[in-house]
């Protein structure tokens, strides 16, 4: 139990929060997903139909944050709704709680999960393809989801038990600093893979001119980095490289 909500309801809300973006739309964004997620708790907290309708309506307004860290807000919404149902708070508290937290938590989640953890795990596992082959895809899922699901569940619990004070708990996780380290790992893994691919290509295709082909392939990668940095579209760089390599392969 959490202040009146049985564990079965808390688990149902968490599971339904996995559908947060099912009907993401440009106007309300995740509004319908949030209302869907918290509905089992609202049903329990507000047996009176009119109070329940009012509770659902206040969660059908604009809402948007990172889908994983939204777990903290979903937990916090339950924290506030329980207090509202007991008459300890006015309904505007939960509305302002969501409005205040969704932006900062979105920035935190985007920075850590989308721009750090995912590229790092992706680059490491892509780099391990020559060694692990198809198991690198399994490793990707395991590594990523260990962090993803453990943080998602923990954030939900933090929101549920701390309400507004969840901000301090989230700050203690030091996600931005960890994200910066992960981004460096992603870049190093990608560079390492580029070198491996070049060396492997040289060894397989080159014969006597293996070192030359390997260096050429690596130089192509380095030139691509410079071109992409200068805002040449990725597709243009990829197609030009393919055309050059195709011509070289056909005529050398």
């Amino acid at each position: 139990m959490s202040g009146g909500l049985p564990m079965s309801v808390l688990v149902r809300v968490f599971m339904r929060s996995l559908f947060l973006q099912a009907s993401w739309n440009p106007q309300g964004m995740q509004n319908l997903g949030l209302a869907y997620a918290v509905f089992p708790a609202l049903e329990k907290l507000y047996p009176e139909p009119e109070a329940r309708r009012a509770a659902v309506r206040r969660h059908l307004v604009f809402f948007n944050t990172h889908p994983y860290v939204a777990a903290a807000i979903v937990g916090g919404v339950l924290f506030h709704e329980q207090r509202i149902s007991r008459g300890e708070e006015t309904p505007d508290k939960v509305v302002s709680f969501k409005a205040a937290l969704m932006g900062p938590l979105a920035a935190l989640g985007d920075g850590f999960f989308w721009l750090s953890l995912r590229p790092a795990v992706g680059a490491i596992c892509a780099g391990l393809v020559p060694v692990l082959e198809e198991w690198s895809a399994v490793l990707f899922l395991v590594l990523y989801n260990l962090v993803h699901f453990s943080l998602r569940a923990r954030l939900y619990w933090v929101g549920l038990s701390l309400g507004d004070r969840l901000v301090e708990a989230v700050a203690r996780a030091k996600l931005p600093a960890r994200g910066a380290r992960l981004r460096a790992v992603a870049a190093a893994s990608a560079g390492g893979l580029a070198a491996y691919l070049a060396a492997d290509f040289g060894a397989n295709a080159g014969g006597a001119s293996a070192p030359l082909l390997a260096v050429g392939c690596l130089a192509l990668g380095a030139a691509s980095y410079v071109l992409v940095s200068r805002r040449v579209p990725n597709y243009v760089v990829l197609y030009v490289a393919a055309a050059l390599a195709c011509a070289a392969g056909a005529f050398l």
């Binding site: 106007q27 892509a126 198809e134 895809a137 899922l141 990608a190 490289a241």
Partner: protein, 238 residues
């Protein structure tokens, strides 16, 4: 044209499921190119094509992110479509999986990511109508039915991307026999294109890592691997 309809169906089913997972449910990264393409290869009996296509596309799309209301390219459609086409081509040629074949699949199907982004934008219109409908149902008093509208937002992703991926598999079966007629020089050139594109994709990934001093870290990684590779080769020769 030889077509394995069971494989086309499997390709469509997996393409639809991961499209759903990418946007609407869970987001446990089954939809990432490395995973989605490898599983596609596994389902179509050519895991190597799926893996190699998935690795390259994982790197190519590494820096893309769905931030706020912005829509990145649909990396999942790009991966599932390309992998399905590559596996179908390999089956149609009967010669198995080759680097030349992966290159053809990538060059022809990688741009599906852009088409997917346009489709994503169109599907948002449907979700907007659902949200408006939910609000009006809630006003009428049936809040249970109102919140359940959320789940209706999922089926278009399943259907649209499932059909798109199945079409890619079909296109692969159609293209496969044409590859048999390629001159040897062109086939060799296409085989060389794969490592070149993978190298470029790795460079794009280093740039897309969002790391401060990404060039330094990428160079450090490249130098470490190059030295390790050379040391291993020298030890092997000795």
């Amino acid at each position: 044209m030889m077509v394995s309809w069971g494989h086309v169906l499997l390709a469509g089913a997996w393409g639809g499921i991961v499209a759903l997972e990418r946007k609407a449910f869970l987001q446990a990264m089954l939809s990432r190119p490395l995973v989605a393409a490898t599983v596609m290869g596994l389902l179509l009996g050519d895991v190597e094509s799926g893996l190699k296509v998935g690795m390259l596309l994982e790197l190519f799309h590494l820096g893309a992110a769905n931030l706020g209301a912005s829509l990145p390219e649909n990396d999942t459609l790009s991966a599932t479509g390309t992998a399905a086409a590559a596996a179908a081509m390999a089956e149609a040629t009967g010669a198995g999986s080759t680097e030349a074949l992966w290159s053809v699949a990538i060059l022809l199907f990688i741009a599906l990511g852009r088409l997917g982004r346009q489709a994503d934008r169109k599907l948002e219109g449907y979700s907007t109508r659902l949200a408006a409908k939910a609000r009006s149902i809630a006003e009428e008093g049936d809040v249970n039915r109102a919140v359940r509208q959320n789940l209706w937002g999922m089926w278009p992703h399943l259907v649209v991307y499932g059909l798109a991926t199945a079409s890619c598999a079909l296109a692969g079966y159609a293209l496969g026999p044409l590859l048999d007629g390629l001159p040897l020089g062109v086939a060799r050139g296409l085989a060389w294109s794969y490592p070149a594109m993978a190298s470029v994709a790795a460079a794009i990934a280093a740039r897309g890592s969002h790391a401060r001093r990404a060039a330094f870290w990428a160079s450090l990684g490249a130098l470490t691997v190059a030295l390790g590779w050379t040391a291993l080769r020298l030890r092997g020769d000795a």
